[in-house]
């Protein structure tokens, strides 16, 4: 342990290294604080929306919840609120929560014309991406590793100590010790603020642990790379330049190139198409015989086939039937649209198999349930809720039952979807393998250093 103590002192004696560690710690703490503030603002917004929606509903119920109330009107004017609260880990990896809506109201009309509404965001603020702990981990922590590792070997050489060090007894574990000490320091600077945040936000224990594990693997990858490059270069300047080059390529160049390729290869125009197609079906219904609409509607809803037939120009049951028929008509486009989104997500994950930065991003946000998959899961829960709403109103509308104040009390209530975070296994394996590989390569190269040095010394 005293050897590790000595390593610690050695690192902290370098002003640059100590500065980098303190900087990382402060930024990590700030990021945790900022992430918590984001999730608290979102929780507060959800509460405000719930209050606003409740007061809106009360007004509607007062007007339309009459003893002889018509469910058609009630359903038309009643908006049903859904919301997607941030997970307890969202503070660490805000992900897309800054641009995706986390509250949405739906009513008995066609779901597909309501599902893709956007939130009022300020796009200029969203542009650079959120400042959260995942950002500090993915972008900044590698820089701290680079500062601590780039002159690991060359620094000793430049100080004229390298030969001496390698000839000392116990030099066998030297590089592993140096590596481990630096690795642990960076990890501590990063993980302590996160641990504090975890205690505050109380996510499931294993999920929090998963966060720390991902960080540990990602840092191990960079530490291994750091040692490898440090053992290869002659001067500390070359070490710094080489490692920074790797960092630029892995965090800036390759991910943006991959994104361009994926988004160009997998278009998602079906979203627009399905919206346009659905409108034609729904509005066309006004000009088609009602029987046509009902015939299609009854295919999937045979239970209402025997209800009183519609006479006259307008009836709510016909109105809601053609909205549902509109949704059903675009089901293939919806499936294609969803498939294209899923494909984009899948290919991003695959690019993580070769890009540790991307793998880490995928892992963190999947675990925090703040990625595109999370938004799609929220949309699924809205669709399920919309179905509940339909089957709640249909008996009133089709059997022409009065819809009273008491029925307003019985409206279906949305249940937020459960914990959606998971471990992206492929990415985990990829980052673990990358970390292992780089650590092995780095250590092997560093050990050869001793051998080369010894043989050269022997030859002198």
């Amino acid at each position: 342990m005293t050897r590790y103590g000595a390593e610690l002192k050695l690192v902290l004696r370098s002003r640059i290294a100590a500065g980098a560690l303190i900087f990382l710690f402060v930024l990590s703490a700030l990021a945790v604080w900022s992430g918590i503030s984001v999730t608290q603002r979102q929780d507060a917004a959800i509460e405000r929306v719930q209050a606003a929606s409740a007061s809106d509903l009360a007004t509607v119920a007062k007007v339309y919840g009459q003893p002889d109330g018509d469910a058609g009107y009630g359903a038309y004017y009643t908006f049903h609120l859904t919301w997607d609260p941030p997970s307890a880990l969202a503070f660490a990896a805000v992900g897309q929560r800054d641009i995706q809506p986390f509250t949405l109201r739906v009513r008995l009309l066609g779901l597909q014309q309501q599902l893709y509404e956007s939130e009022n965001i300020n796009p200029e603020l969203a542009l650079p991406g959120p400042f959260d702990w995942s950002f500090v981990l993915i972008y900044l922590a590698p820089l701290a590793v680079i500062v601590l590792m780039h002159d690991l070997v060359a620094g000793e050489r430049e100080a004229g100590r390298l030969r001496l060090l390698l000839s000392l007894p116990g030099s066998r574990g030297l590089w592993l010790r140096r590596l481990a000490a630096r690795y642990l320091m960076v990890f501590a600077a990063l993980a302590l603020p996160l641990a504090f945040g975890l205690v505050l936000m109380q996510p499931p224990f294993l999920a929090g642990l998963g966060m720390l594990l991902i960080a540990a693997l990602y840092l191990a990858f960079w530490s291994g790379l750091g040692l490898l490059v440090a053992a290869m270069v002659r001067s500390s300047g070359a070490g710094a330049a080489g490692l920074l080059g790797c960092w630029i390529v892995l965090t800036l160049i390759l991910p943006t190139l991959a994104t361009s390729a994926i988004n160009a290869a997998i278009p998602v125009a079906r979203g627009t198409d399905l919206t346009l197609a659905q409108r034609e079906v729904i509005h066309g219904a006004w000009d088609r015989p009602k029987k046509e609409t009902f015939d299609v509607f009854f295919v999937n809803h045979p239970e209402w086939r025997g209800t009183p037939p519609v006479a006259g120009r307008f009836h709510w049951k016909w109105y809601y039937a053609f909205h549902q028929v509109g949704d059903e008509a675009v089901a293939p486009q919806v499936a294609e649209y969803r498939a294209s989104l899923a494909a984009r997500e899948r290919w991003s994950e695959r690019s993580g198999w070769v890009l540790p930065t991307v793998a880490t991003q995928v892992l963190l946000h999947r675990l925090a349930d703040t990625d595109l998959a999370a938004q799609l899961a929220y949309q699924d829960s809205i669709a399920a809720f919309h179905r509940r709403i339909r089957y709640f109103y249909y008996p009133y509308v089709f059997e022409e039952l009065p819809f009273t104040a008491a029925d307003f009390e019985r409206l279906p209530e949305y249940q937020p979807r459960g914990v959606g975070g998971s471990i992206a296994l492929g990415s985990l394996v990829a980052i673990a393998l990358a970390a292992l590989l780089l650590l092995m390569l780095g250590l092997r190269r560093a050990r050869r250093l001793g051998v080369n040095q010894a043989s050269r010394a022997g030859g002198d």
């Binding site: 700030l30 956007s118 542009l127 125009a269």
Partner: protein, 475 residues
């Protein structure tokens, strides 16, 4: 410029050309700019084609609707698509974060949907490969990598004192290095500028906008060149200069641009879409409820209307009263839409101003703003699009309401009254007028250029000072 200065610059170029890493990095960056330009041009062409095709089809669809009650057409509505500005390929700005399609109908204001960022994986947040991204984020890194040894390296090798002893003045030396590295920055910039110039002349974009954009990026890269050389002069070791410069890059290019928006978002609570909708509904109710026969606002409206037409009963009006009520109702709702939208826009502007004011500390924030504004992809141009869309929505809805008032019989209209489909063709399709950034953003453009000029002047001053004291520094 003295001969010594040019000699030093030439020597520096020769040294860079000899360094395989420098040549490779430079080539890589140029390749990236070319790739980014190519990809972005293709993306712009694809977006342009898709949006204009959708737009044309939508107008046709609207015209092809059968005879209908005009109110049906109010809800059939119109889809509008936002066209991209000609220079958008250079910097897509907020376009990926704002929806490009808006559905317009009566008495509702729908959001712009299907933003690219909402339909992409999180990887998009690493950045988008555009010429702007390469120049704003990566080019400074290349400049740093090529320049951090410029002076510190001479010092480490001991050649600095040698040169000074040989009678080369500090000023000559530093201006030589500046000349060399400004040349490098120029070489980085060249392919992007050529692409910009080509596009500006062919795509009908404003040459003034393209020119100012070039000027902004030139100033930005010069800021980084000066900063890199200054740090290389002041720090004794190349490694230290590199780390200090990377730290500077980290703070000004990555950290501040991310942190400041967070601060801006935290300072002001933005109401969600639902809260706004509920508030608008409530305000509307407090003005008047057209469905309530005893509502004071609409009773007054009825009396006024009767007086205007000098009749005693709404059935005696020469027009359909319900149509008039629709017109009045739409007027009231739209007023509220405008009020809430301008509040939201004002809030966004305040947040943007906050970021920009702190942005004095980061030349990136300045150049990013300039770049988006001049490319026609900034927040203001999006807001302007939404404003145009709302004006168009109001116009065509009121036109349909007028058709209802004038053409649907007030008495005995029958069960299913409709008007002739030829009426739809009287409603022109949405035609987007691209806002002129040099008009609406002139104040900001000047202010942002002033920030860049301030950076340049400050760094140049320090650099000149360092040149005079170089002998002392080199000791």
């Amino acid at each position: 410029m003295s001969g010594a200065t040019i000699r030093i610059a030439r020597e520096e170029w020769r040294a860079l050309a000899r360094s395989r890493v420098a040549v490779l990095a430079g080539a890589l960056l140029v390749l990236l700019i070319l790739t980014a330009t190519f990809i972005s041009l293709q993306k712009q062409a694809a977006i342009d084609e898709a949006r204009s095709q959708y737009q044309a089809e939508q107008v046709e669809e609207f015209y092809n609707q059968p005879d209908r009650h005009p109110h049906r057409m109010v809800h059939y509505g119109q889809f509008v698509f936002r066209p991209l500005a000609p220079l958008a390929f250079f910097d897509f700005g907020v376009d990926s974060y704002t929806g490009d399609m808006v559905f317009l109908e009566g008495h509702r204001q729908n959001s712009a949907n299907f933003a690219e960022a909402r339909q992409s994986s999180l990887m998009l947040r690493f950045g988008q490969l555009t010429p702007a991204f390469v120049l704003q984020t990566l080019a400074p890194l290349l400049i740093i990598f090529l320049a951090f040894r410029a002076l510190a390296g001479e010092r480490e090798r001991g050649t600095l004192r040698l040169m000074l002893a040989q009678g080369i003045s500090g000023r000559q030396l530093l201006s030589g290095k500046l000349l060399a590295h400004a040349g490098v920055a120029g070489a980085i910039l060249l392919p992007a500028l050529v692409a910009l110039a080509l596009m500006a002349s062919s795509a009908g974009a404003s040459l003034a906008q393209a020119g100012l954009m070039m000027l902004a990026y030139t100033a930005y890269l010069l800021v980084w060149t000066l900063a890199a050389l200054l740090v290389s002069t002041l720090l004794p070791r190349g490694r230290d200069a590199l780390l200090a410069l990377i730290a500077l890059w980290m703070v000004t290019v990555v950290l501040l641009p991310r942190g400041l928006p967070e601060l801006a978002a935290a300072t002001e609570t933005a109401p969600t879409r639902i809260e706004t909708e509920v508030a608008i509904g409530r305000d509307l109710k407090s003005i008047g409820d057209s469905h309530d026969p005893d509502d004071p606002y609409f009773s007054d409206f009825r009396e006024e209307t009767l007086a205007r037409y000098s009749v005693d009963d709404v059935l005696d009006l020469p027009v359909q009263y319900a149509g008039l009520v629709s017109i009045e109702g739409e007027r009231l709702t739209s007023q509220l839409f405008d009020r809430y939208a301008s509040e939201a826009f004002a809030r966004q502007d305040r947040q943007g101003t906050l970021v920009r004011n702190f942005g004095i500390a980061s030349p990136l924030i300045a150049v990013r703003q300039l770049s988006m504004t001049l490319a026609g992809t900034d927040l203001d141009s999006h807001q302007d699009f939404l404003n145009q869309v709302e004006r168009y929505r109001y116009g065509f809805v009121q036109e349909l309401n007028r058709m209802q008032a004038e053409q649907i019989p007030a008495v005995d209209p029958g069960e299913d009254p409709r008007i002739d489909a030829s009426n739809w063709r009287e409603i022109p399709g949405f035609s987007y007028v691209e806002p002129d950034p040099l008009a609406y953003g002139s104040g900001r453009i000047v202010a942002t250029f002033a920030i860049l000029a301030l950076w340049l002047a400050g760094l140049a001053l320090l650099y000149a000072f360092a040149g005079r004291r170089l002998v002392w520094i080199a000791r």
